[in-house]
Subunit: 290 residues, 2 copies
DNA sequence: TCATATACCTGACTTTAGTCAGTTAAAATT
DNA sequence: AATTTTAACTGACTAAAGTCAGGTATATGA
C-alpha cells in the first residue's frame, strides 16, 4: 500500500525535523553536538572510552579530540583502565556533573512540555514506545540483573499487573510460589533483563536449587516490544545460562489464559508434563532437556 | 511521572539515532545532505526559493550556494518569479526528475522494509501518525482545495467510513444530501484541507448557493490529529471564508451519535434550530449568524 | 518621487565533523 | 622473547555547514 509508505515517510520527516528541536538540550549550551553527545554518554554511566566510541560510531581520532576538549573545559577527567593499561576511563568532574544535569533538565522539560501539550498523553507515550521499539529492534541487549534491583522490580510489577488483568480470577503474587531472590542469583540461578536504549522491555528468571534441575520463572515482554521475538531470545539466553550452571533439565508452569506463551514453549521444543507444584495459578506445565 | 519522561526521552534517542538511517535516502548518492534536502523540497513541488529557505531554516547565502551547485550539476533551473522580480523560482530539469525519483525510491524501500519487519504494521503506522501529529502540531497548514481532487476524495472517504462505523444504521453517502462539487467551489462555496507535512489530516466544506446563507459540510479530522483543536481551526477558517463571500448566516446538520461535534458547535456560538432538510442521517441542526 | 524594505546574490571567513597515516604503550599470541 | 594486535593518541588534512558584511535589483509606501 503506497499510502502506508507515505504515512511512514511523513513520520520520518516530522521526526527528522523535530529531533533538532527534541533533543536540543544539546544545543543552546554553547557546545557542539559531538562534544555534547560524548558528555551525555559519560554522564549516563558509560565510562569505557572504547564503548562510547562504538556506541556513537566515532573515529578514534575524533573521539580523542572531543575528550580533550571536554577535559580542558574541566568537565571530565580520564584515567587509565585498572585492568588494561591500553584503555582509558572517563569520569565527570564536579562541574561536569553540573553541566550534565543542565542537559538533563532541559531535555526533561522539553519532554514534559510535549506531554503537557497533548490531549492523550498516555496514547502518545504508548505510540512512542511502539515506534521506538520498532526502530531500535537491532539494539536490544540482554544482561543479567539483580532481581531485587529497582529495574527488575519494575519489570516484575508490570508482569504481575498483566497477569492480574488476564487471569479471570486476577493475580496476587503472595498466593503464588514467589521464588526467593537468592534462588534467581548465581551460582544457583539467574535473572536477566532485556534493555532497549536504557529502557527495560523484558525479563526472565532462572530459579535453581543447586541441583541439575531448575525452573524458568517470570518470563515477561513489555507490550511495546511484542512481536520482535524477544521472548524467544530471552528463553535462549536462559537456557544457555542454565547449561553453564550444569543444569540439564528445565521446567516451567504457565496458564492457558496466556496462549501465546504456551505456543512459544511448544515451538521451542518443550514438552507438556503433569503438574509438578501446587501453585494455584498455573494449569499448564512444561519440561525441556538441554 | 518521571518514568513517562523517561519513555519519551528513550523515544527521542531512538529516533535521533535512527533518523540518520531512516532518511538516508539522502545519503549514498554522493550528495551532501544540504543539497539533497533542497533537491527534495523542489521535487516535492516547493518552487519558491524563499519558502524553501524558511522551511529548511537556511541562511540566504548558503541557500544560494546550494542552488548554484544543483544548477551546475544540471538538476535544476532557476527563473525569475512572474509577479515579483526580486524572487526566483526553482524547477527540476529532466535529469533532476530522475535523481529525485531515485531518492524517492530509496526512501520508499526503506519505509517498506521497516513495515515488513514489524509484526503489527498497522499498529506501527497508527503510532507513527499519532507521534508525528503530536510533534508537528505547530506545522499544520489549512488551504483551499478542489473537492474533486484525490486528496479531498481520500479525506471524504475516511469521513464516510467513520460515519458508517459510528451510526447505528451505518452510512451510505448516496442516501445523504451529497453537495454538488460546484457548490463547494468559489465563488459560491469553498473546500479546505488541513495539511501536516504533506499529509491531509482534516477537511471542511462550505456549500453555498450564491445567496447570503450557506451550509457547512464534511467537517472531518483524522483520528491521528484529534485533540489538537483542529476542528475549531477549520471552522474558524470556514467562517472567515464565508464572510469574504458576503455570507451572513451559516447552517449545518449533524448527528447526536457524534457528541464531540455537537459540543464543538455549541461552544463555538452556534444555536440549535429545527430540522431544515430531509436528509435521513442528521438529527441535530445548528445555525450561526456571522 | 524618494526613502526604505525585500529577495537574492557574492566573497571571505569560522566552526564542526570526519578521515587517514603514523606513533606509543600495553596486551595477547606465538 | 619476539611478534602481532589492540586502544588511544597526534598531526595534517578535507568536506560540509554555517556566519557575516556588503552588493544589486526590484518592490513598496510615505
Amino acid at each position: 500500500m503506497t499510502s502506508d509508505i507515505h504515512r511512514i515517510r511523513r513520520f520520518n520527516r516530522a521526526v527528522t525535523r523535530e529531533t533538532g528541536a527534541l533533543d536540543t538540550s544539546f544545543l543552546g549550551r554553547g557546545r557542539p553536538l559531538g562534544a555534547a553527545r560524548v558528555l551525555n554518554a559519560i554522564g549516563k554511566g558509560q565510562d569505557d572510552i572504547g564503548h562510547i566510541r562504538k556506541y556513537l560510531g566515532l573515529d578514534s581520532g575524533l573521539m580523542s579530540r572531543l575528550l580533550r576538549s571536554l577535559e580542558t573545559e574541566g568537565l571530565i577527567t580520564t584515567l587509565p583502565h585498572p585492568k588494561d593499561g591500553r584503555r582509558r576511563i572517563a569520569q565527570l568532574t564536579q562541574s561536569g556533573e553540573t553541566e550534565f544535569s543542565a542537559y538533563e533538565e532541559l531535555s526533561n522539560a522539553q519532554a514534559q512540555k510535549l506531554l503537557d501539550a497533548h490531549p492523550k498523553p498516555n496514547a502518545l507515550l504508548a505510540a512512542m514506545d511502539l515506534v521506538a521499539s520498532a526502530l531500535g529492534q537491532d539494539d536490544i541487549t540482554i544482561e543479567r540483573a539483580d532481581p531485587t534491583s529497582a529495574t527488575a522490580q519494575s519489570c516484575l510489577s508490570q508482569y504481575y499487573d498483566e497477569l492480574a488483568q488476564r487471569f479471570e480470577r486476577g493475580f496476587d503474587v503472595n498466593l503464588s510460589c514467589d521464588p526467593d531472590a537468592g534462588d534467581m542469583c548465581p551460582p544457583r540461578g539467574d535473572f536477566i533483563i532485556a534493555n532497549s536504549d536504557g529502557q527495560a522491555i523484558g525479563c526472565a528468571g532462572l530459579k535453581g536449587s543447586g541441583g541439575t534441575t531448575a525452573e524458568v520463572k517470570r518470563l515477561w515482554v513489555s507490550p511495546a516490544a511484542r512481536g520482535l521475538k524477544l521472548a524467544t531470545r530471552l528463553m535462549a539466553e536462559i537456557e544457555a545460562r542454565a547449561l553453564n550452571f550444569g543444569i540439564d533439565t528445565l521446567r516451567l508452569d504457565t496458564n492457558s489464559a496466556l496462549p501465546e506463551a504456551v505456543a512459544l514453549y511448544r515451538n521451542a521444543g518443550w514438552t507438556e508434563i503433569p503438574r509438578f507444584n501446587d501453585d494455584p495459578y498455573p494449569d499448564v506445565f512444561f519440561e525441556k532437556r538441554l
